[in-house]
């Protein structure tokens, strides 16, 4: 269960989230939609604990635990995962090595035994198949020279590898063609389960025809201004954000 209570977040001295309240019960998938500049990325970075995203007041509770004092890596070890809108390149570090390092760092933090290179490779291969990620991509430097679609597929691959308890997908649909979108949506849907909480952040309704959420929340000017069932996406698609929030988007 993710509970965000009256959250105010400041970035570079400017308040971006202004009293955001939202709760996602365990096992559900909720979507947050909103126009550009509404605070969607700030919400995702704040959940992942990025430095510079200062919580002024309010709380983020995940399964009853306050996330605010935890560093980003500690959150990851507790099962928080953010699929990023703009995955970062790390030259010289092969993708497979990165995945192994990350997986084992999380396991270590949870006092689980580390997996050797072979085990990791086997595990990654299984997950890679479903996302049509070729073996060759795993040997390339992380995200270096990857197309937009490859980067997003790798994000979802990581999600399925780490098996997080809370998965936040930030604009995972941006830059994808329809086939890639469908494939990614399938992988995400396959991960839905009674013990996993998911938050899908998106600008467009498109993704939500493939990943049908339990609830949709509309974010505008740093707050949730409307919540509803999956049908809300269609209303937004038809009438735009302006209709709901009374300002041009």
């Amino acid at each position: 269960m993710l509970e965000i209570q009256d959250l105010h977040v400041r970035v570079d001295g400017k308040e971006i989230l202004k009293g955001l309240t939202l709760s996602v019960p365990t096992g559900e998938v909720h979507a947050v939609m909103g126009p550009n500049g509404s605070g969607k990325s700030t919400l995702s970075y704040t959940l992942a604990g990025r430095e510079g995203y200062e919580i002024v007041s309010g709380k983020i509770l995940f399964n009853g635990e306050d996330l605010a004092p935890l560093s980003s890596d500690a959150r990851a070890a507790r099962g928080v995962f953010l699929a990023m809108q703009y995955p970062v390149e790390i030259p010289g570090v092969t993708t497979i090595n990165f995945l192994k390092t990350a997986l084992n760092a999380q396991r270590r933090a949870r006092n689980e035994s580390e997996l050797d290179a072979l085990r990791v490779l086997k595990l990654v291969r299984e997950k890679a198949k479903a996302l049509n990620v070729p073996e060759e991509m795993l040997r390339r430097a992380l995200n270096v020279g990857f197309s937009g679609g490859e980067k997003k597929r790798l994000e979802v691959l990581q999600m399925s590898l780490f098996e997080p308890k809370l998965a936040v997908l930030d604009e995972t649909d941006s830059g994808l063609d329809i086939d890639a979108l469908r494939m990614i949506a399938e992988s995400v849907n396959a991960m839905r389960g009674p013990s996993r909480t998911m938050l899908v952040i998106t600008h467009y309704q498109r993704l939500l025809t493939y990943i049908v959420p339990n609830r949709i929340h509309v974010l505008a000017s740093g707050r949730i201004v409307k919540s509803g069932g999956p049908e809300l996406a269609l209303v937004l698609e038809e009438k735009g954000y302006e209709h709901l929030i009374g300002e041009p988007a």
Partner: protein, 485 residues
């Protein structure tokens, strides 16, 4: 912010423990009196039972040195060294007589090497590495002698080579780095006490990696090793040196000389993992590493390749170079220099193209963190007769934090219009976005920095012999602990 603060504090807590090689071995020492004079040079020579010609060679160097001045062109700053306040010879007492086998070596010494993780014991045969270990001034044990002898390879302390292979030593010692070369090399020529000697005969591929571990133990003692490696026609040898020293809050001087000679078609690969004590967080203590390393590609089609991972020392002043004398010879220099806290490094290479169709390649990766200053200084020189010479240089600098500096000083001289010389340089910072990406995947701050820096150094790490590449990768991480925040 909280996370960074916490990391910082944690790192500060363990900083005292960070340099794990900082222990001192309590052992009875045979010490020279402080200061340098002809008498001290004579004493060193006598301790080694050297022939007269060797003593003369040393004395000539000493007389030159007295008239020389310490160089000051490097971008490093340190208080004046009082050369009369140093000791020029220190040896474990029990080593007065050279041990006949490993069983005769003082167990305390072996314990020290065990702590350092050196595969000195012959049980570690599987590692396939022959080790010559130099403790302060004396070479302590050379492993795998038998197997090397069978192949005709000579690998022994240089003091032994002076006595047993004088014809080779006379012919090659000082032939690459002349006695008069520079202040520190001349000093070394006068007082060098030990080091390794390697001779690989014609057409022999040395059956194993050769390795030397240097360890400074005694305080207020300089260490002056001398290494001489000769690969005869068509021979091949790969050699690795590793260095550590105890933590002391006074600076210690290390002025070594390494000479490599590659004859026709020979290849020498020389790798260094240098982890001398770098000083503490405030820049107190640490080794002054003033080293002259040079290889002479004397024969046609010969090749010399330097790979260095420099993580330690308070000050590094070091330019492993290649003289590309033989036609079609090849020189390579792969370097990682990491400076943290108040470390200073001024390091690079010289590629001197004399022969036709000579080629050289330079890849330098400089990483600066804390208040460190890191300078790449390199010379590519193409002489008039070096028809068709080629060089490619790539210099990449990585900055961590806002108080450090990276400097690149390339000197390029071409006196042959057919030369192709390329120089590429980049400077970058570890991005917040890269760090955050790693953190968000559960990788801790220190591990993330190590991962990113290792990626940055990958081209060079790949050049190291396998078994040392792993050690070097770990070292990269350790030496940058506490650098972010």
């Amino acid at each position: 912010m909280a996370a960074i603060e916490e990391t910082r504090e944690r790192v500060a807590d363990i900083a005292g423990e960070k340099y794990k090689y900082g222990f001192v071995t309590d052992i009875e020492m045979d010490l020279a009196p402080k200061g340098l004079s002809e008498d001290v040079v004579r004493m060193i020579s006598a301790k080694k039972n050297e022939p007269a010609w060797m003593l003369e060679w040393r004395l000539e160097a000493y007389r030159r040195w007295v008239k020389m001045r310490e160089p000051n062109w490097a971008r490093v700053h340190y208080p004046k060294i009082d050369y009369q306040d140093l000791r020029y010879y220190a040896a474990p007492k029990s080593q007065g007589e050279r041990p006949a086998s490993l069983e005769d070596v003082d167990p305390k010494l072996l314990e020290t090497y065990k702590k350092l993780g050196i595969p000195l014991s012959e049980q570690k045969m599987l590692a396939g590495v022959a080790v010559d270990a130099v403790f302060d001034s004396v070479s302590v044990a050379t492993t795998f002698k038998q197997k090397l002898t069978e192949a005709g390879v000579i690998f022994c302390p240089i003091s032994e080579a002076v006595r047993e292979h004088p014809e080779l030593v006379k012919k090659y010692l000082g032939s690459v780095v002349p006695v008069t070369d520079n202040f520190f090399a001349t000093l070394n020529s006068a007082v060098f006490s030990d080091g390794s000697f390697v001779y690989v005969p014609k057409g022999v591929r040395c059956p194993m990696e050769l390795s030397t571990y240097f360890r400074i133990n005694a305080s207020e003692t300089g260490q002056f090793e001398r290494t001489l490696i000769i690969a005869d026609e068509g021979a091949y040898v790969s050699y690795l040196e590793g260095c550590t020293a105890p933590k002391r809050d006074v600076n210690q001087l290390h002025a070594a000389v390494v000479e490599l000679v590659a004859l026709d078609g020979a290849e020498i690969k020389y790798s260094t993992v240098q982890n001398w004590y770098p000083g503490d967080e405030e820049g107190k203590g640490g080794i002054y590493n003033f080293v002259t390393k040079r290889g002479d590609c004397r024969g046609r089609g010969s090749k010399i390749s330097w790979t260095q991972v420099e993580t330690g020392s308070a000050i590094t002043w070091k330019y492993p170079s290649c003289i590309l004398r033989g036609d079609n010879s090849v020189g390579e220099f792969y370097s990682i220099a990491i400076t943290n806290n108040y470390q200073q490094a001024d390091t690079g290479t010289k590629m001197i193209h004399l022969g036709k169709n000579t080629r050289s390649r330079i890849i330098s990766k400089g990483i600066s963190a804390g208040h460190a200053q890191n300078t790449y200084r390199g010379l590519v020189s193409v002489h008039p007769k070096a028809l068709g010479a080629r060089n490619h240089t790539q210099c990449d600098s990585l900055l961590i934090g806002g108080n450090c500096g990276a400097h690149t000083v390339p000197y390029i001289e071409s006196r042959n219009p057919s030369a192709h010389i390329e120089h590429e340089a980049t400077t970058s910072k570890i991005g917040d976005d890269q760090l955050f990406y790693c953190l968000s995947r559960g990788i801790g701050q220190e591990e993330a920095v190590a991962l990113i820096v290792n990626g940055f150094c990958r081209d060079v790490l790949q050049q190291l012999p396998m078994e040392f590449a792993v050690e070097a990768q770990k070292l990269v991480g350790i030496s940058l602990e506490g650098s972010v925040g």
